[in-house]
Amino acid sequence: MSKELVHTPEGVRDVYGRESYERSTVKHKIKEIMYRYGYENILTPTFEFFDVFAKEISQASARDLYKFFDNEGNTLVLRPDFTPSVARCIAKYFMEDTEPVRICYSGNIFINTHRLQGKLREHTQMGAELMCDGSVNADAEMIAMMIESIRATGLTDFKVTIGDADYFKGIIEEAGIDEDTEDQLREYLSGRNYSALEDYLHQLVKDGKIESKFADILIHMPDFTTADELEEGAADLTNTRSRSSIERLKNLYHLLDVYGAADNVSFDLAMLSEYNYYTGVMFRAYTYGVGDAIAKGGRYDNLLSKFGKDAPAIGYMVDLEYLMSALYNQKIDIPYSQEPDVVTYDESDYEQKLAMVQNKRAQGYYIVLKHK
């Protein structure tokens, strides 16, 4: 056998042995939480038409998709994200339904990231989507489930931040900011580049492009705040979009408290939607030992209508790659329940041992039978 064939391509890897067991233990625990909330499993194809994802992602990330053609010339992609696939599927099979639909999934996504950055190109994600329910109760159910899923894995030291896409959009509308200026503001805000943001806003005020009141609001957007301080975010705003987003976040916090999930929660009003499809509340979970969010999600009330069904929806997903490295990094014990017992035989007692082992296996024990 040629030696090169033992390697995997860059960005993908084998998971085996103990790690593989631990991974399925963690997956099982998360899935269990989703089932307890009454979410039904769904399987969507690994590849889909490019157009399913095309409109929802930025051009830069469109380049990072694995694309190929079928023999009729259609462009196909390996899914980079589950949400559009699930939305497509639900829009198709539940077109007439108005009842809320609760769906969960687990599987792999593929992103063709740049070379040599130490990032995997195949990630396992587990997620849940609650469709046809636009209420704040649905928001709370999602976030509470996300927090419970993380807790179920044994991770305790993590933080959840919540923002709302409407808050920023409301300010932009009220201040009458044009699209180019908005893009520039978004760039500074999403990079948390407050000094550049401040200079830029002062210049805008000087040029008479926005009122100084809005410049102040944007500079002081509360990006790490408790529920009690949320009110300050709406103090100087008159537009209903921003104000109702603050109201909603306050209600949401109250509900999370009822769920017993409010401990790790803070609010970040400067959080902007990274996918174009988020329309309302957005949330992320962070912990030590990984450079990215271990779980995230948000409301996407316009996505289903792109597939012909006009209905609100919200979802979250846990990234198993990041979660597992956080668990390992923080040395959190993952129960290793499936480690099999070993029974040995020699020529004389093989049949007797085999019968005993088969009997035990039938009772649910994990047993390896091997030669002494």
Binding site: Q117, G191, R192, S195, A196, Y286, T287, V290, G291, D292
Partner: protein, 214 residues
Amino acid sequence: MRYLTFALGKGRLVKSTMELLEKCGIQCEEVTDKDTRKLIFTNEELKLRFFLAKGPDVPTYVENGAADIGIVGEDTILEEERNVYEVLDLGFGKCRMCVAGPPQAKELLSHHAMIRVASKYPNIAKNYFYNKKNQTVDIIKLNGSVELGPIVGLSDVIVDIVETGSTLKANGLEVLEEICPLSARVIVNPVSMQMENERIRKIVADMKKALMSE
């Protein structure tokens, strides 16, 4: 308390950075000690760690969370396009990203005809020519002494950092177009920003205050 880790871009920025941090009450003299063989320096009192890395590696350390805070030139940030928060302009280490070449090459930049561009910064060069100037270019990645490109005929122009312009001048080249001004920046890992929000914001605010009082 956890350690907060700083990644500092090696070279001219280190001294100014440490002076600035000293004004904020953060000391770590070993960092500027040229004779040391140590790679990581610690301030036990404030639970801070510092290490020096090659400029282009700083955003990589910060993006992956191996460092919480990085201090590096904006040229590197623009070139690497990493997912990091860029929180403060330090104002020092000022220079410009420019298109440079022999004076007669200026003519080539006013058309849309294909030219060859040598640079240590292929992404910045590509972005400037494709998206701002709409000019097709052939980019040649070099790792140093980029000025050689037009002199030996490898390329028509170069894209590089210009501080005083004396290297260009000594080689018969000049600045043909300015792409953008540059300075040193503070970058922060997005997860660290959430997990250690208070400490990081305080450090950044202190640095800003120290800069203002200069």
